[in-house]
Structures are given as structure tokens and as C-alpha cells.
């Protein structure tokens, strides 16, 4: 590191050096006919209902044979290693729901990135109000192309019937991110939400400096 006086003519930068490694997402599945799919719920209200509905549809309509449901102890921090080990070993892919707040979106993405880095394709679910945050997190963790499936925000104060409707509406996205070729997905998802952040952040919630 150079001596400080070499650059005495500039102010120093308080911002910390960020991760610049960029990794690929996991290879996707050729088909959903046959494999076991994991469902990882993070305790957020309605996550169980959302995932259960998705699992039922996948079995009934798309040929998935078995779904395995696991539930984190809480929405924050990360899922325990043993739970991720089990999911990685027994499942061909994992659906991971959901992030609809700052802390839970962050850790939901964290779990998704961990699984992808272990070679397990995921459909990681964020509410549309938090997907910009989620994508920032994915970039920080070195997986800018992580495909993130979105559901409408908020999710916590809607009745079960509405949650099931949202699960049905979400299926197309889930199929797409689990079975589309990885390179195609990456180019599709990299910076997707960052660029469109106005769509997902209600402007009256953000005040300009």
C-alpha cells in the first residue's frame, strides 16, 4: 500500500472495497419430469402456503415426483449448513421463499447464492418491493445473474386464498428459471431489476438527497 502522502491532493474514500469476483449460476434442469424439488420456507407469514401450493402444482401439472419441505428457524440469518446439505444432496432444485423485508430478503438471497454455488439451481423468491435490494445482494455475493422470482408486495397481510392465487401466477417464472439454459438466464437477469428499479420502488417512499 503506497504511503499516504503520494496522493495528498485527493480526499480519501470512506467506501469499503467491494467483492469483484463474479461466479456463474448453477446448471439448470433439462426437465421437471422426475426429479425431487426442495421447498425452503423462511418462516415469513404465508411462505408455507405459497410453497405448498407451488409444490402441489408442480406435482400435479409438471411431472415433479416428490417435494421436500424444510423450514428455517427464522427468516434471519442463513439456513443452517445441515439443512442446506440435506437439500443439496436430495434435491435437483430448490424453491426458496421469500424475501419481503430488508433482513429476510438479504438472507433469502444469501441462501439462494449458497445453493447455486454448490451447483443446485434455485428459484429464489422476493416481493417486488425488495427485489432491487435482493439483486444488489446477489451482486455483492458474486452472483449477479441469480434469477429472482417476484411476487407482489406485501405478502404478509393477504388472506390464504390470495396467496394461492399468487402461487399459481408465479409458476411460469419458476418453470422458466429452473429449466432455461444458465447462460440465457444470466444474461436475462443480470442487472434486470437494478435497471428497472423505478418499477419496483414506490417513488413516494424514496426522498432525493
Amino acid at each position: 500500500m503506497p504511503a499516504l502522502n503520494q496522493n495528498a491532493e485527493f480526499l480519501m474514500n470512506p467506501v469499503g472495497a467491494r467483492n469483484v469476483e463474479r461466479g456463474p449460476i448453477a446448471p439448470r434442469l433439462g426437465t421437471l419430469r422426475g426429479p425431487t424439488i426442495g421447498l425452503l420456507a423462511n418462516t415469513k407469514k404465508n411462505a408455507d402456503i405459497l410453497l405448498k401450493t407451488v409444490g402441489e402444482i408442480l406435482i400435479r401439472e409438471h411431472g415433479v415426483v416428490v417435494v421436500i419441505s424444510r423450514r428455517k428457524v427464522s427468516s434471519s440469518p442463513a439456513a443452517p449448513d445441515a439443512m442446506l446439505d440435506e437439500l443439496a444432496e436430495s434435491c435437483a432444485a430448490v424453491i426458496n421463499a421469500y424475501g419481503d423485508c430488508g433482513s429476510c430478503a438479504s438472507w433469502c438471497i444469501f441462501d439462494g447464492v449458497t445453493l447455486e454455488k454448490r451447483g443446485v439451481p434455485t428459484a429464489t423468491v422476493n416481493s417486488d418491493a425488495f427485489v432491487v435490494l435482493g439483486q444488489h445482494e446477489a451482486i455483492a455475493l458474486g452472483l449477479p445473474g441469480l434469477p429472482i422470482v417476484t411476487v407482489p408486495h406485501p405478502m404478509g397481510d393477504v388472506p390464504a386464498e390470495e396467496v394461492r392465487k399468487r402461487a399459481e401466477a408465479m409458476i411460469a417464472q419458476v418453470l422458466r428459471v429452473l429449466t432455461t439454459e444458465a447462460e440465457v438466464l444470466e444474461s436475462e437477469y443480470t442487472d434486470r431489476f437494478i435497471d428497472e428499479s423505478d418499477k419496483f420502488t414506490r417513488s413516494e417512499m424514496v426522498c432525493q438527497l
Binding site: 495528498a8 485527493f10 480526499l11 430488508g102 435490494l133 444488489h136
Partner: protein
């Protein structure tokens, strides 16, 4: 952030060190690296003087800090310390606090990104408190003392700039809290009838430490009238027994209580110690199961219900008595302060070293 170099964490900004105070502040504010208050422009000279406060390799990283996972080098901490107005001798406290915050169990990632109004509260113990003049008396949670004010402020700048907790971006606090400007105090060991916090956590009395707790802003506990410790403890328990905060919602984490010296005196006069207070709170602070079910809490397995009716018993706030984090601070007056926590976090204590 308008500057890519700034955003990537390079060492220098594209801002001349010769800018006058107003120009430098305007540019830094537009970069989003301040707290909205005037900062001291981090010139290389000032950062070099700050680094004289500690004998550590300035390039050493203490780890990464989420949500942006920026590298917390000693130099980056020093740059933020300059901006906050710290004196060089405060740098050792900041380094210890960052060492505490990067511990896994503190859950900085969640704390920084959450919608919840949480901030790290720093409690300093040992000789550093007097050496650095960290206020532990009147208004110790408020303004007025340079050490308290600038150390707490530097922690917030570090969370924004190194860790990426920019409001509305990496930090998604719905409201945040004024405690995010600065929240640092010392335990008032002279006014405490009990062992200080760091000694109870296994440090020697002459070691200085900083304890970091993921706090809400403090809640007042007013009791002007009780003549015995039991009365004071009853008010403590009642003050934290609501379903509004995260400990109730999640049934875990720690609840900190800063006991005012006059309340401490009344409690100790009855022969009660720290463990007695913790046990009282564990046995009496809680919420009715019906209220918890109404806000969606369902993880009651680990918690022993107590009192009230069998049909609708009270359920405690935390998992064990020791999860009540107790210390003494404040001036004269019959007040204590309760700090519910983020819940999914454990407080961490680290020694303050200058080497």
C-alpha cells in the same frame, strides 16, 4: 452514488483535497457517504493522523461487512472516523466495535438491511471510559460529549460506507431511528453496586472493552416512587412486556436494560444482584399467548409459559435469564432505560487494544 471509483471502494476519491469546507461537504453529501450532517473532509493528512491512534497495519482487513460485503480495513475505518470528528485515540474503540460486529452471531447483514429500526449500541467498560472521557453520567445517551457523539457517529458512517447500508438501498429501514445518528456510552462503574458488564463476561477489571448490542432506541422506565427493589423490578418487567418489539415477536435475542444509579441503589439495598434481576425479568416479563398469536408468533416450544390463566398464559421475551443484558449508567434521577433488540442477534464484547 455518482462516482464509480467511490462505489468500488478505491482508496481515493476524484475530489481535490484542496476543496474548501463547503465544497467538500456538498460533494461528499451528493456521493451519499455522509449522514446529512457536516463531516470533516477526509484529507490524507487527517487520515494519517487518525492512524497514529492505533498500532495496527492500516491495510489489514477485519473482515467483510454486509449487505455490500465491503472490506473493513483499518484505513477505511480511519477515513470514516475522520469524517465523524473522532480524535485519534478513539480509533481503538472503533476497531474493537467492528471486530464485534463482524462476528457471525451479531448478524450485521440482517441488522443493516432490515426494515426494523435498529442500530448498534456501544457500551464501553474499563479504564478507556475515563481515559477517553466517554460519558456515563447525565445525558450519557444524548448529545454533548465528543467521545460518545463521534464514536457512535463513526459506527454509522462505517455501516453506510464500508458495509453498504445506504438508506432506501442496502438499508431498508422503514423509519429508522434517531439512534442511528449516534449511540455510544460507557457503563457508570463508579455508581454501580455490582460487577461491571465486562467483568461478568470474563474480562479483567482493568481491561477495556466495548459491547455491541443491536438496539432499538431506548424506552423510558420511569419509577419515582418504589421504596424497594421489587417495585423497581416490577416496573422493568412491565415496561418491556409489549408485543410491539422484535424480542416479543420472535421470542429470542437479548433485551438490554440500562439501570439508572438511583434505581440500582434501591435494588441493591434489598440485597439483589444482577442474576436476581435477570431471573425476575425472565419469570415476569412477557406477553399473553393470545396477543402473540394475534401478531403471528407461533414458536412457543422453547418458552416456558407462566402466570395468568392456563388458557392464555404469559410467554417470555427471550430464551434464558442471561439474555437480559444489564448495566448501570446515567446521572441522578429515578429512570432506567430498556433497549429491546433486533431479536435475531447476540451482543458481542471485544477488548479495546491499541496494538
Amino acid at each position: 452514488m455518482t462516482s464509480a471509483a467511490a462505489a468500488q471502494g478505491e482508496r481515493f476519491l476524484a475530489l481535490p483535497a484542496s476543496l474548501d469546507f463547503e465544497e467538500a461537504n456538498e460533494a461528499l453529501y451528493q456521493l451519499g457517504v455522509t449522514d446529512g450532517l457536516p463531516v470533516i473532509p477526509p484529507t490524507p493528512d487527517r487520515v494519517a493522523r487518525m492512524l497514529e491512534g492505533i498500532r495496527r497495519d492500516s491495510a489489514q482487513s477485519l473482515g467483510t461487512m454486509g449487505p455490500a460485503y465491503g472490506q473493513a480495513t483499518i484505513e477505511k475505518i480511519a477515513v470514516n472516523a475522520v469524517m465523524a470528528g473522532c480524535r485519534p485515540e478513539y480509533l481503538s474503540v472503533l476497531v474493537a466495535a467492528v471486530e464485534a460486529m463482524v462476528e457471525y452471531e451479531f448478524n450485521l447483514y440482517g441488522i443493516n438491511a432490515t426494515t426494523h429500526p435498529v442500530t448498534p449500541m456501544l457500551v464501553v467498560n474499563g479504564p478507556a471510559a475515563e481515559r477517553l472521557r466517554i460519558n456515563s453520567g447525565y445525558n450519557c445517551m444524548g448529545q454533548g460529549w465528543r467521545a460518545n457523539a463521534t464514536i457512535g457517529r463513526a459506527i454509522r458512517l462505517i455501516l453506510v460506507n464500508i458495509a453498504g447500508g445506504t438508506p432506501g438501498k442496502g438499508d431498508r429501514a422503514t423509519h429508522g431511528t434517531p439512534a442511528k445518528f449516534s449511540f455510544c456510552l460507557a457503563e457508570n462503574e463508579l455508581a454501580s453496586p455490582w460487577q461491571p458488564l465486562h467483568v461478568r463476561r470474563g474480562f479483567a477489571p482493568d481491561v477495556s472493552t466495548v459491547t455491541v448490542h443491536a438496539s432499538e432506541a431506548p424506552h423510558e422506565i420511569n419509577n419515582h416512587t418504589s421504596e424497594d427493589g421489587a417495585g423497581i423490578l416490577r416496573t422493568f418487567a412491565h415496561a418491556v412486556s409489549t408485543v410491539g418489539h422484535n424480542n416479543s415477536y420472535l421470542g429470542r435475542g437479548e433485551v438490554a436494560i440500562c439501570i439508572g444509579p438511583e434505581h440500582a441503589e434501591t435494588i441493591a439495598r434489598d440485597g439483589l444482584g444482577i442474576a436476581d434481576i435477570q431471573e425476575h425479568l425472565f419469570a415476569h416479563a412477557g406477553n399473553r399467548r393470545s396477543e402473540l398469536l394475534a401478531i403471528g408468533r407461533d414458536n412457543f416450544d422453547a418458552m416456558a409459559p407462566f402466570e395468568a390463566s392456563e388458557a392464555d398464559p404469559f410467554v417470555g421475551l427471550v430464551e434464558k435469564a442471561e439474555d437480559y443484558l444489564l448495566f448501570v449508567a446515567g446521572g441522578v434521577g429515578k429512570h432506567s432505560m430498556a433497549m429491546p433488540s433486533f431479536g435475531l442477534s447476540r451482543s458481542v464484547t471485544k477488548p479495546i487494544g491499541i496494538d
